[in-house]
Amino acid sequence: MDEWIEIGRVDTIPRRGARCVNTPNGKIAVFRTQDDQIFAIDNRCPHRGGPLSEGIVHGASVTCPLHNWVFDLSTGQAQGADEGEVRTYAVNVVEGRIFITPDLMLVAAE
C-alpha cells in the first residue's frame, strides 16, 4: 500500500479554488492556492457539514460557505474562535500531476 494515487492535473483546478474527488466514503476537496500549492482535505465542515470545496480560498485557508468558519488547509485546524478540525490528506505533485496518499483508500476500505 505505498503506491500514491493519481487524481488529476493541477491546471484543471482554478487558482484560489477547489475540486472534489468522489470516493465511496465521501468527497475529498483538493485545493489549489494562488501560488499553486495543493492541499487535500475532507469536503465536510466539522461544524454542520458544509462543502468546503465551495468556500472562498485565501492564502492557504478556506472559508466555509455555510457559516464562515475558516480552516488552515495544511493542518485542517479551524482558525480564530471556532474549534474543530477537518481531516487532511498528504498530496504529492510531480510535473503538474497530483498524487494523493494511499491512506485515503485504506480508510475507504475499512
Binding site: 482554478p14 472534489c20 470516493t23 457539514g49 465551495e54 492564502g59
Partner: protein, 814 residues
C-alpha cells in the same frame, strides 16, 4: 415591604431618574408609571431626525418593554392621570386605573402653547412635542404646503425636517430675527439665510392674525393682510409647564410646580421633576438640567443627601448641515464688552460677550467646535485677560501655534464639560474608558451617557477615545474593511478610482494589504467595487465570489442547490410552468416552492445537475432569477390597471419594464423593487429598496424601505409624471447607490449614511446629474446582461460541475 413609587408622565426626566434609582437601590421600590402617550420611553430630542427621515422611531427608544419587565416596573400606556387624592395617597387615570403611593413623582413635562388666534382649533393645526405629532405632520404628504409658526429651536427643526420630506415650508416668526432668545441678530440673520438656501421660506416680524379655513386649515392670514395658503399649520411658539394636574390637587404652583432643592413640592410625599417643575423661579426647557434633577431626586428617594443648585444651559440646533451653538447672556450693556469674529466667505460668525474679563455669553455659527471650551470658561468664570487677543479664535490658538483638533481636546481640563445634555465632563469619560476597558462609542454611551442624547458631541467623545486608547482607536479612519487592511470601504472605493486600480492584486499591492490574497470578507467586496467602477474593463473574478454567485444558484444546508428562474414582474404562462414541471420531474427535484418574491423555487438540485436544469429552463425562454445575487433580484408587481378596478396605471407593465432594463446589474447588496397600481399597495412597494406607487397623476417613487432584518417603511423620493421619467429616476438612483454603497450595505443603510438631501440633489433636483447616472448604468448593462446559466450551459466553468476524479470501488478491495 418595598415602597410604592408612582410616577405621572414617562418622559426623559423620570427615565433617567429611574436608572439612577435602580442602580442605587435595586428592588427597593415597586414602581408604577402612568403615561399619557401610548408607548414606552424614547429620546424626545431625536424626534427631529425621525421627522426628517434620518432616523426611525425604533432607533430612538431609550427604554423598551423589556427594560420595564426587567425592573418590575408597571407601565400604563395611554393612561393620563386625571386626579391625585392626596389624603388617600392615590392617583387615578382617565381610563379608571388606580394606584396608591408612598412617594409620588409628577413629571408631566410641558405642553405646547397654542396662541388663541381665530381658527387655532381647526383640523390641520398641529403642535410638535411627541411622536404622534411627527406622524400627523408626515401625514400631510410630500408636496403639501405647510406653515410653521415660530422660528425658535423647535419650529426650525420642524421646518428643516418637513422640507427634507419634500414639503413646501414657510416659517413665520414674530421677532425680527430667528431664535432671538438664543442668538444675536447677526447670527439670526445667517441662520435665516441658511434656511432660505434650503428652500424654506422665512417671514420675520410676522404677526399671525388668524388661521383660515372651513373645517380644515386652508391658510394663514397675517396682521398686514398677507395670506399664505397651506394645508397644515405647525404651532411651535413655545411651551408651558404642564402643571394643571398639580394645581388642581392644591399643590403650590407658579408657572411650574414649585419644588425645593430636593425636588420636593409642598406636600412631603410628592415630588416634581423635569420641565413641569419650577426651581428657584426657573422652569427649564432642555434636558441637561432635568438629568441633574433626576440624579438629585434618586438620591433623595434612597435617603442620600443631595441638592439641586440650578443649571446654566447651552443650546445647539440639530439641523444637519447647520452648526450653531449658544450659551449664556449676549444682550448688550454698559458694563459689557464683546469680541466678534466674522468670516463671511466661510459663513462663520463668533461672538463672545465679556463682563469683568469673564465670558458671560457665547454665540457660534458655522463652526462650533470650541463651544464646549467657551462654555466651560463661562461656567467656571475664568478670567480671560491673559488670552484676550486670541480668545475668539478658540482653544487651538491659546499658546502660540495653532493646535490640531486632537490637541485641543487633549488640552481641555478634566472638569470641562463634553456632553452638555448629560453633564458629563472630560475626566469622567476618560476615567470610565480606562476603568471599564471601553473600546468604542457604544461603551462610552452605555456607561457615561455622554453623546447618548442629542448626539452633537459625538466627535468630541471619539477624540477622547482616541486620546485615551491611542492608536487602538481611530475616530477618523472608521471601520477597516477587514483584518487585511487599515482602509475602510469608502477609502478603498475612492482610491480604486483615484489611482486607477483595475484588478484585485493591484488594489492589494497599492493599498498595502497585509495578507497575500485577502480573505472572504474583502475579496468579494473588492471584486464588486471593480466590477462596478470599471465596466467592460475589469474581468469578474469568480474565485472572489461567494459560492452562490460563482455557480449561479443558492447553496442549501445539505450542499444541494436551489434554482429560481426569472418571472418578469411576477408574470408567467403555461409554457413556462410546464417547463418547470418537466424539469422537476426529469431531475427528480424534491421540492417546488412559491417564493416570497413572486416566482418559483426548485429546491434540492444536485450540483452536477445544474447545467442540465438550466439548459431546459433556457430552452423554454427563462433566465436566471439571480435569487443569489448581490444584484437585482425581483420586481414585484400587482395586477394594476390591466385588471384591477382600482388600478391607476399599468403597474405590471412598468414592473416588467424595470426588471428587463435592470436585470443582471450587480449592486452593493441585493436590490428588490416593487410597483403597486394604487396606494392600496398590494405589491408592498413601501418596504422595498425602491418602490413605485402608481397614482392618477403618475408615479410616486419611494426608496430605502426594509422588511428583512430591519423593518422600515420607505421614504418618498419624488413624483414622476410618466413611465419614462420614473424609469430614469429609478435607474439613476440605483447607479448612485452602486457607486457609493459599501459592499453588503442595503439601500436604506446607504441612504441613512449619506443623507436624503444628497440623494435628492443627485437624482431629483438636477436633471443633468440624473441623466449622467442613468447613462453610466446603461453603459455598464451591456457587459452585465448576459444570462449566466446560458454561459454555463455553453461550457463556462465546466470544472465547477464535474468531479476531479471518481473512485467507484475502494482500491484496497481490488
Amino acid at each position: 415591604m418595598s415602597e410604592r413609587l408612582v410616577i405621572v408622565g414617562n418622559g426623559m426626566a423620570p427615565g433617567r431618574m429611574l436608572e439612577h434609582l435602580f442602580e442605587a437601590a435595586p428592588g427597593r421600590f415597586e414602581v408604577t408609571i402612568f403615561n399619557a402617550e401610548p408607548r414606552v420611553n424614547y429620546n424626545r430630542l431625536m424626534l427631529s431626525p425621525v421627522l426628517s427621515g434620518e432616523k426611525s422611531y425604533a432607533e430612538i427608544i431609550t427604554h423598551g418593554d423589556e427594560w420595564y419587565a426587567e425592573h418590575g416596573v408597571t407601565l400604563h400606556k395611554s393612561a393620563p392621570v386625571t386626579q391625585i387624592d392626596r389624603a388617600a395617597k392615590r392617583v387615578q387615570s382617565s381610563n379608571g386605573l388606580v394606584a396608591e403611593y408612598d412617594h409620588l413623582v409628577i413629571a408631566t413635562g410641558s405642553s405646547p402653547f397654542i396662541p388663541p388666534v381665530p381658527g387655532h382649533q381647526l383640523a390641520g393645526v398641529v403642535t410638535y412635542r411627541d411622536l404622534d405629532d411627527v406622524d400627523k405632520m408626515l401625514a400631510a404628504g410630500r408636496g403639501s404646503s405647510i406653515v410653521v409658526i415660530g422660528g425658535g429651536l423647535l419650529g426650525l427643526e420642524a421646518a428643516a425636517g418637513l422640507k427634507l420630506r419634500g414639503m413646501d415650508v414657510t416659517v413665520l416668526h414674530l421677532a425680527p430675527t430667528l431664535m432671538e432668545r438664543q442668538l444675536d441678530p447677526a447670527a439670526g440673520y445667517l441662520l435665516e439665510k441658511a434656511f432660505v438656501d434650503r428652500g424654506v421660506r422665512v417671514i420675520t416680524q410676522a404677526n399671525t392674525k388668524q388661521v383660515l379655513g372651513q373645517d380644515r386649515v386652508e391658510g394663514v392670514e397675517l396682521s398686514d393682510g398677507t395670506v399664505i395658503a397651506c394645508s397644515m399649520v405647525v404651532m411651535a411658539v413655545g411651551i408651558r409647564p404642564a402643571s394643571a394636574l398639580a394645581k388642581e390637587s392644591g399643590l403650590a404652583v407658579n408657572r411650574g410646580i414649585v419644588v425645593d432643592d430636593q425636588m420636593r413640592t409642598d406636600d412631603p410625599h410628592i415630588f416634581a421633576l423635569g420641565e413641569c417643575a419650577e426651581h428657584r423661579g426657573i422652569c427649564y426647557g432642555l434636558v441637561a438640567p432635568l438629568y441633574e434633577m433626576g440624579q438629585v431626586l434618586a438620591s433623595t428617594l434612597v435617603g442620600v443627601p443631595a441638592s439641586y443648585q440650578g443649571s446654566v444651559t447651552s443650546t445647539k440646533l440639530k439641523v444637519t448641515g447647520i452648526d450653531l451653538f449658544s450659551a449664556g447672556d449676549f444682550g448688550e450693556g454698559e458694563d459689557r464688552e464683546e469680541i466678534v469674529l466674522r468670516d463671511a466667505s466661510a459663513g462663520i460668525y463668533k461672538r463672545l460677550v465679556l463682563k469683568d474679563d469673564r465670558i458671560i455669553g457665547a454665540v457660534l455659527y458655522g463652526e462650533t467646535s470650541d463651544g464646549p471650551w467657551f462654555f466651560d470658561l463661562l461656567k467656571r468664570g475664568v478670567d480671560t485677560r491673559e488670552m484676550r487677543d486670541t480668545l475668539v479664535f478658540g482653544q487651538a490658538y491659546q499658546g502660540g501655534t495653532p493646535l490640531d483638533p486632537m490637541a485641543a481636546v487633549a488640552a481641555l481640563p478634566d472638569e470641562a464639560e463634553i456632553c452638555g445634555c448629560n453633564g458629563v465632563c472630560k475626566g469622567k469619560i476618560t476615567s470610565t474608558i480606562t476603568g471599564k476597558g471601553l473600546t468604542g462609542l457604544d461603551g462610552v454611551r452605555a456607561h457615561t451617557k455622554a453623546s447618548a442624547s442629542c448626539g452633537s458631541c459625538t466627535h468630541l467623545v471619539e477624540q477622547l477615545l482616541h486620546l485615551t486608547l491611542g492608536a487602538g482607536y481611530n475616530p477618523a479612519a472608521v471601520q477597516p474593511m477587514c483584518g487585511c487592511t487599515e482602509y475602510g470601504h469608502d477609502d478603498v472605493r475612492r482610491l480604486i478610482i483615484a489611482k486607477g486600480l483595475k484588478s484585485i492584486p493591484a488594489v492589494m499591492q497599492e493599498l498595502e494589504w497585509k495578507t497575500s490574497c485577502g480573505c472572504a470578507k474583502c475579496r468579494p467586496a473588492l471584486n464588486y467595487y471593480l466590477v462596478s467602477d470599471w465596466p467592460g474593463e475589469y474581468e469578474d473574478d469568480g474565485q472572489s465570489r461567494f459560492i452562490n454567485e460563482r455557480v449561479h444558484a443558492n447553496i442549501q444546508k445539505d450542499g444541494t442547490y436551489s434554482v429560481v428562474p426569472r418571472m418578469w414582474g411576477g408574470m408567467t404562462n403555461p409554457k413556462e410552468l410546464r417547463a418547470i414541471a418537466d424539469v422537476a420531474d426529469k431531475f427528480a427535484i424534491p421540492a417546488v416552492k412559491v417564493t416570497g418574491g413572486q416566482r418559483i423555487d426548485l429546491l434540492g438540485v444536485k450540483k452536477e445537475d445544474l447545467p442540465g436544469v438550466w439548459a431546459d429552463l433556457n430552452a423554454a425562454g427563462m433566465v436566471s432569477g439571480a435569487a443569489y445575487a448581490k444584484g437585482l433580484r425581483t420586481v414585484k408587481t400587482c395586477v394594476g390597471s390591466d385588471w384591477c378596478r382600482f388600478g391607476t396605471q399599468d403597474s405590471t407593465g412598468l414592473g416588467i419594464r424595470i426588471e428587463k432594463f435592470m436585470w443582471g446589474a450587480w449592486t452593493p447588496a441585493k436590490l428588490k423593487l416593487a410597483v403597486s397600481g394604487c396606494p392600496r399597495n398590494c405589491a408592498e412597494a413601501t418596504c422595498k429598496d425602491i418602490g413605485v406607487i402608481c397614482v392618477d397623476s403618475g408615479y410616486d417613487i419611494h426608496f430605502a424601505g426594509a422588511a428583512g432584518l430591519d423593518i422600515k417603511g420607505t421614504e418618498l423620493l419624488c413624483h414622476a409624471n410618466t413611465e419614462d421619467e420614473a424609469l430614469e429616476i429609478i435607474v439613476a438612483l440605483t447607479q448612485l447607490y452602486r457607486e457609493q454603497g459599501r459592499y453588503l450595505e442595503r439601500i436604506y443603510k446607504w441612504a441613512k449614511r449619506v443623507g436624503t438631501p444628497s440623494i435628492l440633489a443627485n437624482v431629483v433636483d438636477d436633471r443633468d446629474k440624473r441623466r449622467a447616472y442613468y447613462e453610466r448604468f446603461v453603459y455598464s448593462q451591456q457587459f452585465a446582461q448576459v444570462d449566466p446559466w446560458q454561459e454555463r450551459v455553453n461550457g463556462k466553468d465546466a470544472h465547477e460541475f464535474a468531479a476531479l476524479a471518481e473512485f467507484g470501488m475502494p482500491v484496497a478491495a481490488e
